[in-house]
């Protein structure tokens, strides 16, 4: 039982996607962004232990870095980063009263990996 609960706790701390809603009102940007009001940007956080680098959507590099970390603790652990991002469109107004629609790549985190 103890082993199972430890395993659950460590699963939570493993690299995965977390929800993050960016509300433009919080940034004061609602005064010039017409739409959207905000968007689910998400973020990646968690550990990338060597034992799980293969199952955590890891790059070959992350595997090698994790391997090196196990040999030499001076080498930092592999990091949890976005591996798939998607765009959003923003409708806003500039200082010249122009209404602008612009597409921005890599604004939403869809998947994370090591």
């Amino acid at each position: 039982r103890a082993a199972v609960s430890t395993s659950k706790a460590s699963c939570k701390s493993l690299c995965h996607r977390h929800q993050l809603f960016i509300n433009f009102r919080d940034l004061g940007w609602h005064k010039w962004i017409i739409a959207p009001k905000g968007f689910m940007a998400n973020y990646c956080h968690g550990e990338c232990p060597f034992s799980l680098t293969i199952s955590l959507n890891s790059s070959n590099y992350a595997f090698m870095q994790a391997l090196m970390h196990s040999v030499d603790p001076e080498v930092p652990q592999a990091v949890c980063i976005p591996t798939k991002l998607s765009p959003i469109s923003m409708l806003y107004q500039d200082n010249d009263d122009n209404v602008i629609l612009r597409h921005y790549e890599d604004m939403i985190v869809d998947e994370c990996g090591c």
Binding site: D94, I100, L101
Partner: protein, 233 residues
Amino acid sequence: AFGQTLQFHEHVFLRFLGLDKVPSPKKFQPVPSILKRIFQAQEEAASTGISKDLCYVKELGVRGNILRLLPDQGSFLYSESLSHASCLQKLLSFNLSAIGDEEQLTMAQLGLDLGPNTYYNLGPELELSLSLVQTEPHVIDQATPKMGKMFTLQSVPWPQGVLHFNLLDVAKRNNDPHKNLGLFLEIVVKGGRALGENFQLEATCARLRRSLHTSLLVVTLHPEQCRSPSRKR
């Protein structure tokens, strides 16, 4: 110190968005239906997980990732010296300075909304002409218009409803140092008949001046943000 760092980071990100500083619009402009439609289509595609080429505007059939609707900053010309057959004369002025030097212009469409179709009863008596003005609009003396060189771009008999003019070549060739695009719009009574001779026509012209709405839809492509997939990081 934290506030300053935050401001610095915000500034850097705003530059990425193509803005020099946080915009502070005096009033919200109405969002044109075409931009609303494109935005909604993009949101729908995103919610269904369909990947879309963000550098192609399907609704307009052009390449580009930045769409701007520039408001007309020009003014009507009223003068005793104007032709008595003139129904409407307006100088159109569009500030293109927001377009970055690195952006490639792929579309410049002038939209003239003449309001509800009111000319059906009048017959083909009006003609619209659009000319390019090669001088700075603020130089124009409204009492005695001196507009420098004018080049007629297009003439439309019996104008009504919403008209669109392709000004891509004109906007591309525009070498005004202040990046201002100046146009001269005139609607005249065909055959040179004086307005005063036709009360109905005069009333229509007055209505036309009130309802006229002009804007320039500009589409540009930012090469760095529209790289081919093989060159993406």
